[in-house]
Each structure stands twice: as structure tokens, then as C-alpha cells.
Point group: C2
Chain length 205, copies 2
DNA sequence: TCCACGATGTCTACGCTGTCCACATGAACC
DNA sequence: GGTTCATGTGGACAGCGTAGACATCGTGGA
């Protein structure tokens, strides 16, 4: 990205800004996604950003979508491993939960960015939030639950809305671990609680 | 609070700033807690705030503590109602969950403020976060779970760490409803999901 | 009674932010 | 080869958090 520098036109500023934004989110979460800093890192004057994003919030939403896509990819990787196991359906649901918690642990900045909302994002169906499979994290969870029903591991009557229950439990834990009363716990303690939460969902659904 | 105005000294500026901060948090969540605006509402110059709060973040933390205390009070009210029911222990746990979700619904700004962390708050044991009973929301949940064990409704072996599981589920739902994919659902839909989440916890614990 | 002192509020100023407007540049197309 | 239009620049503004020096005032010791 330095080759094109020293020419008046950047070449691919939108991508450069987005990547700078992602890097900022990684380092410091959503509030660290600062328009001026992104332009600085892209080697460009602040206002240049407005040719590609309507506002700081528009940039943040783009970063947010990228963060969701990264989560989807992480889930897909974990799912691939689950496919080699007996009781694939259950293993897949567990894989989703584990991937979610692991992502929150390893990429706290991105995770917080993915789920922090200011204003009205309307991310439903945004293709930018999808992983390689074309599904976003929420859709991946839904698919895993469908598998459970197909495999007879979940009564069909319990299926509707089940993603909300599962998501709630795992998301809540992630938030508590990240910025709630669980913040000071060791990684192992949190993993243990994670296992219990996933088990609770499995049993309580 | 206008009587004391027109005198050089405000009289109770700390309280005035805190209350302005709470009002701001109510209206727009944590990011709306703006130091200058708080001083404006208190009828005072921006820097006056620094006699009472070391920084904007210190003010925000004070507001945060107040929000947690408000949640504790809401829980206590719901608990009082639960005490009149048969199976008090179970009713209490449900009451905690319901109060939590209702608070998130009715006071979204305060709720988001209570659980948004920037930096390192160290709220553990802060008496400012407690309700009338002297317990903060987390402690109230713990007490309800202890009751469950005492009543034989929860195996003692499951007790350690159970608050994290319960909290995770309800907190996650609240966040999803507030700023996640459930944002566009009707209040009734979310209440229904809330019932199911609480049931899942009860069953899955 | 007076006066010094410490606490509290004010004034001025700095660098940071997001954003608006007018202008410069240059790639692409007729 | 000249025009057009997307893209980057420059300068400006208001609002933010915050620092340092100064003003005001209630209070306690002489």
C-alpha cells in the first residue's frame, strides 16, 4: 500500500480505511475507531474519508460487519472440526458456542465492536457479515439447531426461537467475561464456566 | 436547586453533576454522559466538575454505580412480590430474571450504562451499587440461588458458580433485545423469549 | 473582630475530535 | 486533446476533555 503513495490518488482508499479501522477496533474496541486516525494510517487527509464513508459511524458499521464476518469464519473453522465427530449435530452446536467464546477471548476488540450498537445499524442480511459459507454467525447457529432437529437431538417443538435462547446464554457469558464481574477470572475458570453454560443450553433447551 | 444559584458557590455540585449525569445516561446511554453538558445543566462552568470528579470517566463510573443501584432496587421490588408466592425460592430466582429484563426494557440507557465498561472500574464491593437491602444486583442473584439450595430446588453440587450461568443467560438476552438481532421484535415477543430463557436456566442449571 | 486559609467555582487556552465548504488534481471517455 | 467527474487537499468551525492560573467565599484561629 506504499507503492501507490506519492501519487495524488490513493488507489484503494476505501479498503485502506476499512483495514485501518479494523486494526483500530482490534486494538481498542469500537470507541477506538477514530476517523482521523484511520486516515492518518492510510496516509491521507481526514476529509478524504468522506469520499468513501458518509460519516465516522458509517466507517464503524463497515468495521462492525467485518468483525461479524471474522466471527463467522472462526465458527466455520470450529464447525469443520465438529463434522469429524460422532453425534455431529450436538458437536456442531457446541462448536458454535465454543467458537463464540473463544473469539470473544482472543479478539476482544473485534468482539466488542461486532456487538456494540450506536444508532440503527440494520445489519440483517448484509452480505459483508458472512463467512466463507455465505452465512453470518446468527445463521450458522440456526443451521446447527436445524441439524439438531434433523438428528432427533432437539424436539421440533422447541426449535422455533431456540437460537435466541442459545445465543443469549453464550453472548451473556462472553460479555460478563469481557467487561462484567468475570473480568478478573482466569482463562481456565472462564472456560470451565463456558462448558457449563453450553451444557445448560443443551440440557435446558 | 435554583435557590442557591446566583451565589458563587453552588452548594451541592457533586450531587447536581451526578444527577445530571444520570439523566444523560437515561436519555442516551453511557456515551451521552458528557462532562460539559452535565456542568451546563448544573449551571456551572466545565472545569468546576474537576473539584468533584477526577475525570469524565470518574463521573461516568459514579453514574454507573447509581444505575446498578437502581437495578438492585428494581430487583428488590420484584422479590418482595415473589415472597408472597408458594415455592418462594423458585419464584425469587424468576423474579430476579424478570426484573433484570424489565429494567433493560424500561431503562435502556441506564441498563447499557450499568454494563458498559471502559477501562477498569473495580466496582466489586462498591456500596454505591447496592439497593435498599445493601446488596448489589449480583449479590441478590446469589442470595436467590442460595435460597434455591436451602429449599432443595437446586442440588448443592450445582450451586458454585451458578450465578454466572443464570446471569449469562439473562444478560445475554437483555443485550440481544437492546442492541442485537432482537432489537426489532415486539415487547411481547421478547417477553415470551424471556420466559423461555428463565425456564431454560431453571431446567438446565 | 479581623484576617488568613482552604475549598470551590471561573477564565483562558490547548489539542483532539467529527464535519462542512471551496478548491486542486488527474484518470477516463468523447 | 479537451472535458468531466470522481477523488484527494486545505482551511475552518464547533464541541469535547482537560490543564493552569486566578477569583470568590465560608470558616476557624488570632
Amino acid at each position: 500500500m506504499d507503492a501507490a503513495r506519492h501519487s495524488y490518488h490513493h488507489g484503494d482508499l476505501r479498503r485502506a480505511l476499512l483495514e485501518a479501522g479494523i486494526a483500530l477496533a482490534r486494538e481498542g474496541g469500537p470507541e477506538a475507531v477514530v476517523l482521523r486516525e484511520a486516515t492518518r494510517r492510510a496516509g491521507v487527509v481526514p476529509n478524504a474519508a468522506y469520499r468513501h464513508f458518509a460519516s465516522r459511524d458509517a466507517l464503524l458499521q463497515a468495521v462492525r460487519a467485518a468483525a461479524l464476518a471474522a466471527l463467522a469464519v472462526a465458527m466455520e473453522k470450529e464447525l469443520a472440526r465438529a463434522r469429524k465427530q460422532p453425534d455431529v449435530a450436538r458437536a456442531s452446536l457446541r462448536a458454535i458456542g465454543i467458537a463464540y467464546l473463544r473469539f470473544a477471548d482472543r479478539e476482544p476488540g473485534l468482539f466488542r465492536t461486532a456487538f456494540s450498537v450506536t444508532g440503527d445499524p440494520e445489519t440483517a442480511g448484509d452480505p459483508e457479515t458472512a463467512g466463507r459459507s455465505g452465512m453470518n454467525p446468527f445463521q450458522l447457529l440456526g443451521a446447527a439447531l436445524d441439524q439438531m432437529v434433523a438428528a432427533g437431538a432437539l424436539p421440533a417443538a422447541q426449535r422455533p426461537g431456540a437460537e435466541y435462547l442459545a445465543w443469549s446464554a453464550v453472548h451473556g457469558l462472553a460479555m460478563l467475561a469481557l467487561e462484567g464481574p468475570l473480568r478478573r477470572m482466569t482463562r481456565n475458570q472462564i472456560q470451565e464456566i463456558g462448558r457449563r453454560v453450553v451444557a445448560m443450553v443443551d440440557k435446558g433447551l
